[in-house]
């Protein structure tokens, strides 16, 4: 707890150097102004746990008053997180560690976002069809959850808000009318992402739908589909708010993209932490889950959405979305 007069400092620890977090950063800046706190914002340069851990340790050394974490490996990191929870209030956002002593989780699980994507697939391919999933790495928690959400939705498993913890092995997955032919990973390399998309188009000429789980995957898919002259013939669904994807939605060859609300992840996390530190009522529900729902952006919503994004970014000195 902070003494009166001293400025409250909060560490905000994301899980990688992605554009996505720029919006969260903007949200943090907004909260900084709103509550007069200071936010130490961190993006692990190569998205590794080692970097995340290193930063958390230094922040502890500096003596921050609260911390928000998007945890890279929830299960195994729980002991480490509990060490911190013992000293200061901790909330999770984007990626939760449910078994830890964190005060709250802000966000919607990636699993739920995956289910949302699954629904969109069903809607796009009502008579069934073949699809391929593209992602950077399958040992990243958000990738596992999103993919599992899609599979469970297509296989018609009962709805759950949280990742049940069992990953369907890679390779071909049958789900009734729908078949996931493969899950191709690229290790975070955009050129491999595009290569994978291209090669998939060659390998499966009768493919119906491609879905990219990480932000750069969908632009890569779009680029490959355009090169092959298959716009419109192959349906595309994406995640996150990449400019090219939003453009594709506008132009009609991308069915939709599932977006979370990173800006709110930032703002709300700081707000809750601020209130916890000040001993105020933070309004955390009993199940500790603060819902910031994921949405699917389709052609009808895309303009409004882009507008909102730009307003959010106006808080910091970030680039505009064009």
């Amino acid at each position: 707890t902070a003494q009166a007069g001293k400025q409250i400092t909060i560490a905000y620890v994301t899980n990688g150097p992605y554009t996505f977090w720029t919006y969260a950063h903007a949200g943090c800046l907004k909260a900084e102004m709103e509550f007069g706190v200071k936010v130490n914002f961190f993006k692990p340069p190569s998205a590794t746990l080692e970097e995340q851990k290193r930063f958390i340790e230094t922040q502890m050394a500096k003596g921050v008053d609260g911390m928000a974490i998007s945890v890279i490996d929830p299960e195994n990191m729980t002991p480490f997180i509990n060490e911190i929870c013992a000293k200061i209030p901790v909330v999770m956002f984007d990626s939760d560690a449910p078994k830890s002593n964190r005060k709250a989780y802000i966000g919607m699980s990636n699993y739920a976002a995956g289910r949302l994507a699954g629904q969109k697939i069903k809607e796009q391919l009502p008579n069934g069809g073949k699809l391929v999933i593209f992602v950077g790495r399958l040992d990243a928690q958000n990738a596992v959850e999103r993919r599992q959400g899609i599979i469970d939705e297509l296989q018609g498993k009962p709805y759950a808000a949280q990742y049940p913890g069992k990953m369907t092995p890679q390779g071909r997955v049958n789900a009734g009318k729908w078949t996931i032919l493969d899950t191709r990973t690229d290790g975070g390399d955009e050129s491999r992402a595009k290569g994978n998309a291209e090669d998939t188009l060659v390998k499966y000429p009768d493919l119906d739908l491609m879905i990219g789980l990480w932000s750069y995957n969908t632009p890569a898919i779009i680029s490959a589909v355009q090169d092959a002259g298959k716009q419109g013939k192959i349906k595309i669904i994406g995640f996150d708010e990449e400019v090219v994807v939003l453009g594709g939605i506008k132009d009609g060859y991308v069915a939709g993209t599932i977006v979370q609300n990173p800006y709110e992840y930032g703002r709300t996390s700081i707000e809750i932490l601020y209130k916890l530190i000040k001993g105020m009522n933070a309004g955390i529900p009993p199940d500790k889950l603060v819902d910031v729902p994921a949405r699917i952006i389709t052609a009808d919503k895309v303009d409004v959405f882009m507008d909102t994004l730009n307003k959010q970014l106006a808080v910091g000195e970030f680039f505009e979305v064009k």
């Binding site: 050129s191 994978n196 998939t200 060659v202 932000s215 990449e242």
Partner: protein
């Protein structure tokens, strides 16, 4: 020449095997994709070959490609700079980076590995800082510029839809054409002009080259400039092709691919040895491998292992064959002697 024949055989074998298992491999569209990727990565490898030939190395090419690619998109789209200004600026920046590497290597006598390793870190940091970690791209516009990365050449000369069928399926992607042009220029530079010999000589023995009146410092700097310029050019093409450049990851590990292309293509990491065609074929092998892995549906988890193994076996076999041919030549001499041929062999 034997060296090139060797890896050409390797390339053909990999392609043949893949085709036999799955004929979609030789579809025009697929081959064209491979050629485009070979073009993009080939330009990187060609540049990389020059510092290696001087006995150095350039670990920064991936970061340079990332930085310059991100910057070009940023200048053109975000800052709305005219293309005719933005591209020269980006290329000039690339040249400058190589120049700095060369200066540090020659004047301060720092080891190339260290200089370019620091470059790898610094340019990555610059890219991230300048772009604030925000993904860069050209959006849906700039189709003319994107022709550099997406264009298919014979096709471009026909009105839309009127190209003959065989051209439609087999036309040449622009990056490949750019690779061939860069390759020809560098091949003339390396094989026909005095500079090539200077670079090869100093790569083997810098002192001896200096004693021969070669301005070894200048040649070394030139080699690093070639490398960084090619990296910058490739970076721009990559950014046009992919249309998304994540400052934190774009070009990550590309230096390893560039070096792998060189190594498979017969550029010796000890310096003083290398040829352009080999590097192009070497790059193509790596690209074909990646493509084949996808076409054959091999698990992506195994991807790296397959690529590493093929390179290892390819280069290793070459090494073994080399010592074999040396032995064969001895055997030949013995054969001649046995037949009572030439008595002595030292005479000029």
């Amino acid at each position: 020449m034997k060296r090139i024949a060797g890896i050409a055989v390797l390339l053909v074998v990999v392609m043949l095997i893949t085709t036999l298992i799955d004929t979609t491999f030789i579809k025009g569209y697929n081959i064209m994709n491979i050629m485009r990727w070979s073009g993009l990565f080939g330009i990187l490898s060609l540049g990389e070959a020059f510092p290696i030939m001087t006995g150095g190395i350039d670990l920064s090419v991936g970061s340079i490609a990332g930085l310059v690619g991100a910057l070009s998109a940023n200048l053109i789209r975000m800052r709305e700079m005219p293309i005719a200004l933005a591209l020269p600026i980006c290329l000039a920046l690339s040249v400058l980076m190589g120049f700095l590497h060369g200066l540090l290597v020659t004047k301060i006598r720092m080891q190339p590995f260290v200089v370019t390793l620091c470059g790898l870190f610094i340019y990555r940091g610059m890219a991230r800082f300048l772009m604030q970690d925000v993904t860069q791209g050209y959006g849906n516009a700039f189709l003319g510029l994107k022709f550099l990365a997406h264009g298919k050449v014979p096709l471009a000369f026909w009105p839309a839809g009127h190209a003959p069928k065989f051209i439609a399926t087999w036309s040449l992607p622009m990056p490949f054409i750019i690779l061939v042009l860069v390759g020809i220029i560098l091949a003339v530079f390396l094989n026909r002009m005095v500079y090539g010999r200077y670079i090869l000589a100093l790569g083997r023995n810098e002192q001896a080259a200096r004693f021969s009146g070669i301005n070894t410092n200048r040649m070394t700097i030139v080699a690093y400039m070639i490398s960084s310029t090619c990296a910058g050019l490739a970076g721009i093409l990559f950014s046009l092709d992919l249309n998304t450049v994540q400052p934190s990851t774009a070009g990550n590990m590309y230096e390893l691919y560039a070096i792998a292309g060189c190594v498979v293509g017969g550029v010796s990491l000890k310096g003083g040895e290398g040829n352009i065609l080999g590097v192009i074929i070497g790059t193509a092998i790596v690209r074909v491998l990646y493509n084949a892995i996808n076409i054959l549906g091999i698990a992506t988890t195994l991807e790296f292992a397959v690529v590493g193994l093929v390179i290892l076996v390819g280069v290793g076999a070459d090494e073994v064959i080399k010592s074999f041919t040396a032995r064969r030549r001895i055997a030949e001499v013995r054969g001649v002697q046995a037949k009572g041929g030439v008595g002595t062999s030292t005479a000029a």
